[in-house]
């Protein structure tokens, strides 16, 4: 089975849907869109099996020469190894589920076909991203998913706000992409290739640990990752990206695309290992993001924005793990996160549809009885997100990160405390949301109950959110290392410096406790003492703080003031092109000369004679002057 088909089939399907336009009926569109992903997923599974059979030996595939110039070569070349297989599987399977869900979710939309075309295009681009064998192709996928993200955020284009959100997403990630482009240039300059494996090998030989060049490269790559994965300081676009349809949020802005940064860093981990400074930066960024986003998530009113900030926060965990050198832990968290966050988004979507596109949590409530199916899956998702111990996948992945943040070679107590703080926050905001939506009194009428096409994917994901954790269990709890073992050919095992079962236990206990504490606080806050809480929240200082957090710590305002407005201002004052003034000025000067000269042509004969005499005087003067000169 040709693994190039994995991205090719979604692309093909996207083309068909795009060209087919409105001529293909909705059923056919659904079949094509979902079928293509199912097919891709199947092939991916087959490919994964093949990789497994060869003990993780990568499958290489050169499709055609993209560019080959003077020794520089970038091909449309794919590589399926343990790491990409994980991503491919998640993308295709979760993607398939989301597509199925979307057939129901988007059923009444007039641009049904366009939606799926973009979705398929996205999946294809994402697959290219993770399968690319060289950085240029990776960049193609990278930008491709950015494009699809743009298209889908702005899918409901009639509202200009959506368009602005889409544009913001594109431009902000583009800033990160620019950093990544610099990294590519530097890599090419130093290693003479952009082939990933070539770069990694050459890098290992070329640079000693801590070499400024590699540090620069790693930092720039980090910049790219930060942009795409909505980490500090480029996180601002993701909450706005919720303007897109919910399946889009689930697929692109939770499960897959935003984790591209994680993939990139994992993919180029050799470089990061050579650059401890960059790695530290990764960890610090991850840590800060996870707290900041968690705090923001606490105060949101829009259900999707809670999830968005939660996503930012969870990716912060992944970055923290990457920064600590816990590569496989990051990937593991990516997998579980993909499941439970997709689950949460889609169930939130189900709620939203049920409430006739109402997204404000404070207008929901009491849905436990009205939407019981959704209630249960949402509960499972929330539990997984809040990392309820033992039964949820989220627990295992997050716990691993928390533990490794302390114990790994690159870890430290500071990271550990941050991670724990994050766990507390996660519990709080997750269950604040949960309680607000499903408990209390119903404030909005339910229009529409989700059908099977929406619920079945949710059930599957709910199952996955629970069981996926069991592929990797900590030492203290069964010690299963299926996942990290699988990744070993690609990602080195984490170096644990503090190996102590007791400490690990302690850590797990603390984190579990904090999760519960978070849930408890949410319970107190929402269920028990909503009145007191409200009073507390009405205090002026708190109002301001809340507002600031709600606006994502006012990063938008800062960027607006520092970058956007100066740019717009500069371009506006120069909209008439000042350089042109030089030339119009020149033309004016010429015209002035004309007017001056025209005055000499007065038509009066004596004046003309005067000209002749002046000429005579001038010529004779020059003559006399030269006489004394010589």
């Amino acid at each position: 089975m040709n693994s190039a088909l994995i991205p090719a089939i979604p692309f093909l399907s996207a083309c068909i849907l795009m060209l087919g336009w409105k001529r293909i009926n909705r059923t056919a569109v659904s079949v094509i869109a979902c079928g293509s992903l199912a097919l891709s997923a199947l092939i991916a599974v087959v490919a994964a099996v093949q990789v497994a059979q060869h003990n993780g030996a990568p499958q290489m595939l050169q499709v055609w020469n993209w560019m080959q110039v003077a020794g520089f070569r970038a091909g449309i070349d794919f590589r399926l190894d343990a790491l990409s297989v994980v991503f491919v599987l998640v993308i295709t399977i979760v993607g398939f589920l989301i597509h199925v869900y979307a057939t129901a979710y988007m059923h009444d939309d007039e641009d049904y076909s366009r939606f799926f075309a973009c979705m398929n295009l996205f999946v294809g681009a994402m697959l290219v991203l993770v399968m690319a064998d060289n950085l240029v192709l990776l960049y193609l996928g990278w930008e491709g998913v950015g494009l699809c993200s743009y298209l889908l955020i702005g899918f409901w284009y009639k509202d200009p706000a959506n368009g602005y959100a889409a544009r913001k997403a594109f431009i902000v990630t583009r800033v990160g992409d620019t950093a990544m482009a610099f990294a590519l240039f530097l890599l090419y300059q130093h290693t003479g290739t952009l082939h990933i494996q070539g770069v990694l090998q050459a890098g290992a030989q070329l640079w000693a640990k801590g070499d400024p060049a590699v540090t620069m490269i790693a930092l720039l790559l980090l910049g790219g990752a930060v942009g795409k994965s909505a980490q500090l300081p480029l996180q601002t676009w993701l909450p706005d990206a919720m303007a897109g349809p919910t399946p889009v949020s689930a697929l692109i802005h939770a499960a897959t695309m935003v984790t591209a940064g994680v993939y990139l860093i994992a993919r180029t981990h050799t470089l990061f290992e050579l650059a401890p400074a960059a790695q530290t930066a990764t960890a610090v960024i991850g840590g800060m993001t996870l707290v900041i986003a968690g705090v923001s998530a606490l105060v949101q009113t829009d259900i999707k924005r809670v999830l968005a900030y939660s996503t930012v926060s969870q990716i912060g965990y992944m970055f923290l793990a990457l920064g600590c050198g816990a590569w496989s832990a990051a990937i593991f968290h990516f997998v579980t996160h993909a499941f439970f966050k997709a689950l949460l988004f889609m169930s939130a979507g189900a709620v939203i549809v049920a409430l006739h596109h109402e997204q404000d949590m404070f207008k929901m409530g009491g849905l436990k009885k009205l939407l019981p199916g959704v209630f249960w899956v949402f509960l499972i998702g929330s539990a997984s997100l809040a990392a309820l111990p033992f039964v949820t996948a989220g627990f295992y992945s997050k716990d691993q990160i928390i533990w490794l943040a302390w114990s790994a070679a690159g870890g430290g107590t500071g990271y550990w405390i941050t991670a724990l703080l994050g766990a507390l926050l996660t519990g709080m905001y997750t269950f604040r949301m949960f309680f607000l939506v499903f408990y209390g009194e119903a404030r909005t009428h339910v229009h529409h109950r989700p059908g099977a096409r929406m619920m079945v994917p949710l059930y599957i994901l709910a199952v996955l959110s629970t069981v996926a954790g069991f592929v990797e269990l900590p030492h203290t709890l069964g010690h299963v290392t299926l996942f990290s073992h699988w990744l070993l050919p690609v990602l080195p095992a984490v170096q644990v410096v503090t190996e102590s079962a007791a400490l690990e236990w302690t850590s797990q206990a603390v984190s579990a406790l904090l999760s519960f504490a978070g849930i408890g606080m949410a319970y107190m806050w929402v269920m028990k003492h909503p009145q007191g809480m409200r009073e507390f929240l009405e205090m002026p200082a708190i109002v301001w703080l809340r507002g600031c957090w709600q606006r994502g710590w006012d990063f938008d305002e800062i960027y607006d003031a520092l970058l956007v407005r100066p740019f717009v201002f500069l371009s506006q004052i120069n909209s008439k092109d000042l350089v042109d003034k030089i030339y119009t000025g020149l033309a004016r000067a010429m015209e002035w000369c004309h007017n001056m000269m025209a005055r000499t042509q007065s038509g009066i004969l004596r004046w003309y004679i005067m000209g002749v005499v002046l000429g005579a005087v001038a010529i004779l003067s020059v003559l006399i002057w030269r006489l004394y000169e010589i």
Binding site: R606, M610, V613, L614, V617, L620, S621, L623, I624, L627
Partner: protein, 175 residues
């Protein structure tokens, strides 16, 4: 080079100055005749008797008479003098005057720069002039004929009084 030259030259310059400054055109013309006569004397002094005669006959005689006749024909009288008086204000002549005086200064200065060895005035007999005229310069004489023909034809065409004719676009003109 003697007093004759200086006297004649003085008269010429003074008479010319009067030509420039007089308001009455007839007076000016008469002063010009005086000036021309003085120049004829200078020419004579410079050894060109034939040219001196020609100067008197053609310039002072023919050309000036032509102009005088013309002026009389146009019947330019007192009124013109008044005009001239009005026109000859310092405002009008001061700048051109200065400019010309600068030019004069420059010209005189340049002429004085002459470093040629001084020679005596050499008399050129009319015979020599005639020999040159009808020897090497015969073509020039013929060309002068053509020149005069051009002048005559031009003057004839321009000076002719127009008949009142009924031409389709000349009707508008009052002649």
């Amino acid at each position: 080079m003697d007093a004759t030259f200086f006297i004649a030259a003085g008269i010429a310059v003074l008479a010319t100055l009067r030509v420039i400054t007089s308001y009455n055109i007839m007076h000016a013309l008469l002063y010009l005749v005086v000036s021309l006569l003085a120049v004829a004397v200078v020419i004579y002094v410079y050894g060109a008797p034939f040219m001196a005669v020609l100067e008197i006959i053609i310039y002072a005689g023919a050309i000036m008479v032509l102009i005088i006749f013309f002026v009389m024909m146009l019947n330019l009288g007192l009124e013109t003098s008044e005009h001239e008086k009005a026109w000859l204000r310092p405002r009008i002549w001061i700048i051109p005057g200065i400019l010309c005086l600068i030019l004069l200064g420059e010209m005189l200065f340049l002429i004085i720069q002459n470093r040629q060895p001084a020679g005596n005035i050499q008399v050129v007999e009319p015979k020599a002039v005639g020999m040159a005229l009808f020897g090497p310069y015969i073509i020039a004489v013929e060309l002068t004929g053509i020149l005069l023909m051009a002048g005559i034809v031009g003057a004839y065409h321009l000076g002719r009084q127009q008949k009142k004719i009924s031409h389709r676009f000349l009707e508008n003109f009052e002649l």
